[in-house]
Symmetry: C2
Subunit: 222 residues, 2 copies
């Protein structure tokens, strides 16, 4: 009997953890956290359940570590861009928003974490809070500080509520991106993502501008 059994498992203890985290993000984003079995993640990574439980004590820890790993990369890129960016605040806001909502993913799609984490609020509250702190909140605090800077330099109007504006814009964009993957089933949902970003930023900046930019001298009937 030619025992052509399964070939012996490949051992790569260095790269395995990151492979597992990436696979987890992909599968979680596709099927959702709770609907994903550990075996699904294992299969996507080309291993079995044992391998995952060898590196991560529990399903929740797998998610926690995935969030951590993802946030490090995403905000690393934003911080880097903003570090050596000068010029008017509006320009830096454009930079930041484009970087934040661009395709930063290991999965190819945008806002993978948001897609996963918005759903698990009651299932894994710890992970959900960690995501909120490290993602959306961090994001709008950054935007808020930029707006405040613009207010203090006079580039923006002084009576704008920077916190609310930052909150709503960040949350709105995140949610719109989270809804995009199901646009194929709900036509009214679909929109060009670049237009979504650009128009949002322009709308935001316009809302921040002082009211009296142009003085209309000759009122021919408009």
């Amino acid at each position: 009997m030619s025992t052509a059994k399964t070939p012996p498992p490949e051992r790569r203890p260095e790269s395995r953890p990151h492979e597992l985290l990436d696979a987890a993000l992909r599968v979680f984003a596709e099927r959702g956290y709770r609907n994903t079995r550990i075996d699904d993640v294992a299969e996507a990574a080309g291993v079995t359940k044992g391998a995952i439980y060898h590196y991560f004590a529990t399903k929740e820890e797998l998610l926690l570590r995935a969030i951590e790993s993802y946030h490090d990369r995403a905000f690393g890129a934003i911080d880097e861009i903003l570090r050596d960016a000068a010029g008017p605040v509006s320009a830096r806001i454009r930079l930041m928003m484009r970087k934040a909502f661009g395709p930063t993913d290991p999965t190819g799609q945008r806002m993978t974490l948001a897609l996963i984490l918005q759903g698990v609020r009651h299932d894994v509250p710890l992970a959900h809070r960690q995501w909120l702190r490290g993602g959306p909140i961090k994001g709008w605090l950054l935007l808020e500080s930029l707006i405040e800077e613009g207010k203090s330099t006079g580039e923006f109007r002084a009576d704008v509520d920077a916190e609310v504006a930052a909150r709503v814009m960040i949350a709105g964009l995140i949610t719109q991106f989270v809804w995009q993957p199901i646009a194929s089933e709900i036509p009214e949902l679909s929109i060009d993502v670049d237009r979504l970003i650009d128009s949002s930023v322009e709308f935001l900046l316009h809302g921040l501008m002082p009211a009296v930019v142009v003085a209309p001298i000759l009122p021919g009937r408009n």
Copy 2:
């Protein structure tokens, strides 16, 4: 033997369905859809599992009917307010937004449906899509049409992207409200809800205004 068993169950076939739907909304909002057992809903309504399965074939149908019932009431109120509202578009936008994000709930808190439905995208996709269509999408289409009306009358500037603005504002406010119930555990999250609504609306309207709102030339009384 004084058989002081459980008193015989009260039978009220008229009111029972609505009682069950309300209880379901409350408990779903608290613990999430998947973490809620049918027995939890039953207990909250003062009945047992049998009663629920007598009126609803499945847990998903219970959710579907709850969505339907809720949307009817919520949008009924909005439509009514807008029906006999005249005046400038900005005033009507204020009316609509306040009505939409005010406490319209049977549960007392705002955005109960959003709180529940944002989480069940992968669990009950049918319910999720029904909510999107009947809630957020309907909401931003309404807002978008108001903005377009304002553009056509010259009240708003003509080069604003009405669709994107409506989308982001609605989605942003919804999400902010969804996050509010956990603000007790994440201090940075908490904000006064009235300020959230008011500042958002003012920010929106300012972003819609033509750049030349104030004509500081000849103050002939207009």
